[in-house]
């Protein structure tokens, strides 16, 4: 995805990516504006300084496993790709084994 150079959140290259860490230690680097699809992550990253994540641009999720977090990152990309789309929006595939965990994580992340 191309980054909008006028986006206030991407002032410096350091702030363009955020790191999401799963419970089993996998680190996912995704673009900040994709991560902000989730209202919870948006609150964590831009809150009034209460969260330590503000400074380090990294969020450690102790209850979300790596498979689930990987799928969530794919969803962020899917959503950004197909928002305001004129073409038909395809279905987002989810593996049934993870459906319950993804539902819980999506509920927590509000996305």
């Amino acid at each position: 995805m191309t980054t909008n150079a006028n986006d206030l959140h991407c002032e410096t290259p350091k702030n363009m990516y955020v790191k999401l860490i799963s419970s089993d230690g996998h680190e996912f680097y995704i673009k900040r504006d994709l991560a902000l699809t989730s209202q919870t992550i948006r609150a964590m990253l831009s809150g009034p300084g209460q969260y330590a994540e503000n400074e380090t641009n990294a969020i450690h999720f102790r209850c979300i496993s790596s498979q689930v977090l990987a799928r969530i990152c794919s969803y962020f990309a899917y959503k950004a790709r197909y928002s305001n789309s004129t073409i038909e929006i395809p279905e987002f595939p989810i593996a049934p084994e993870h459906a319950l965990e993804i539902l819980m994580a999506a509920n927590f992340l509000d996305c």
């Binding site: 038909e88 279905e91 987002f92 049934p96 459906a99 539902l103 999506a106």
Partner: protein
């Protein structure tokens, strides 16, 4: 989450081509009670009557109903089937091989594998071989069209070869409703002879069950998309859900005030919308059996005495769009209305369109196009691509809900025993859209 973009659904350019075919002087203007799209979304079946008094079904083929340019669109009448009497109901059926249903059991306790969860599994166990060698007709590959006639017969044609493959004769009177299952070629038919009959076409059209507990006509039958439920609607406010494995009555829904004429399931089988002559469309939850929303077509709502009688706003037909964003209804006050399902808590109409004497609304399986038929023998094609909810991808929770509800199958009630928070269990049961 959902931004409201209310672009008007428009008449498609291919609509003009369709009118040219339908308006030729060979045909009388008849009441087009039902039109049907095929599962591949390429064929549309329209019942017509020609000037010699012969009843026929036109099958129109178009590879892209939404084509922008009329000259490249290849809309044509590919088949014309004649019938011995008036056509009351139509449905397409095609056998689909299942991609992966072994995963269904991983969601819940694997020890519960003993009971078959869907009709598909039950049939797979019973039938030792689907070998075509043993059968007289081969229903496993092609696309078929079934039409229920006024004399009680059901004609089944093969669309690819154009031959009349089978005539099912058992009903004593008009077959007013028919539906095929999505994958296994089971046919449910309901009739003015007060029975519902179930036919297995993969077993040569064997009629294996008759449900005849009523003394009145059954207006319509529908299978749920996962084939675990059968909904039957009729006069005296009848709405019944059957479990298709055990054929027990799962729910008898009370709430309508007049004859119920049409029903539609959501894609995960968790929601059922029923349309009735009492000017309402009620959305029921198939998991909990309660009313989630009611959609009114006459505001203010008529008093019970009018709702139960002649109120001028009978709702004739209802469909739920893909991904369960909207409900589209056809009402006797000459309007087609779109209601949103995704907006929480509100039963608001988001769009309406005038169509005089509208009778039936049908949607393609891929959700791009809809066809509207009326009493003047016309069928119009509208595009549904740009209506509210289709410009933005749904939230991730939405997809999870669809998947979980589809996987639950007949063990729907066990949604309540899943290890989720109360809030999420309520979300699965669509309590978030319930009118408070």
């Amino acid at each position: 989450m959902f931004n409201q973009i209310i672009d008007q659904p428009e008449l498609l350019p291919t609509n003009q081509l369709l009118q040219k075919h339908l308006n030729s002087s060979v045909y009388l203007t008849n009441n087009v009670w039902k039109v049907a799209f095929s599962p591949c979304s390429k064929y549309l079946a329209i019942p017509k009557q020609d000037i010699y008094g012969e009843n026929c079904v036109l099958v129109v083929k178009c590879s892209n109903w939404n084509a922008k340019d009329i000259h490249t669109a290849d809309l044509s009448v590919c088949q014309r089937f004649t019938c011995t009497s008036g056509i009351w109901s139509l449905a397409f059926g095609q056998r689909k091989t299942e991609e992966s249903h072994s995963h269904q059991s991983t969601l819940l306790d694997p020890n519960n594998l003993l009971l078959p969860k869907t009709r598909r599994e039950l049939l797979n166990r019973r039938r030792s071989s689907l070998s075509v060698v043993n059968r007289r007709h081969d229903f496993t590959k092609d696309l078929f069209l079934a039409a229920g006639l006024a004399d009680g017969k059901i004609n089944i044609w093969n669309i690819d070869t154009g031959e009349l493959t089978l005539i099912l004769k058992d009903h004593q009177s008009t077959v007013c409703g028919l539906d095929f299952t999505s994958c296994t070629m089971q046919l449910a038919t309901c009739s003015h002879d007060t029975t519902i009959k179930l036919w297995d076409l993969l077993d040569d059209g064997n009629m294996y069950k008759t449900l005849n507990e009523w003394t009145h006509v059954i207006n319509a039958v529908k299978w749920s998309p996962d084939e675990t439920l059968l909904c039957a609607v009729g006069p005296y406010e009848l709405v019944i859900l059957y479990d298709t494995v055990t054929w027990e009555e799962l729910h008898k829904f009370e709430g309508h005030l007049h004859s119920v004429v049409d029903c539609a399931f959501s894609s995960d089988s968790a929601l059922l919308a029923t349309a009735s002559y009492d000017t309402q469309v009620i959305l029921w939850s198939t998991i909990t059996g309660e009313i989630l929303k009611t959609f009114a077509h006459k505001i203010p709502m008529p008093l019970k005495i009018y709702a139960g009688g002649d109120n001028g706003a009978f709702v004739r037909s209802v469909v739920i769009t893909k991904y369960n964003h909207n409900i589209i209804t056809a009402c006797d006050d000459n309007k087609i209305r779109w209601f949103s399902l995704a907006l929480n808590d509100k039963s608001r109409m988001i769009y309406e369109r005038t169509e005089t004497n509208v009778l039936c609304v049908a949607m393609t399986v891929d959700g791009h196009t809809m066809a509207v038929s009326n009493r003047n023998g016309e069928v119009h094609l509208l595009s549904t691509l740009s209506t509210a909810g289709t410009c933005h991808p749904p939230p991730l929770k939405y997809f999870c809900r669809l998947l979980i509800n589809t996987s639950l199958g007949t063990k729907r009630k066990e949604a309540f025993s899943l290890s989720l928070s109360q809030h999420l269990i309520k979300y699965l049961a669509y309590q978030d859209i319930k009118t408070k």
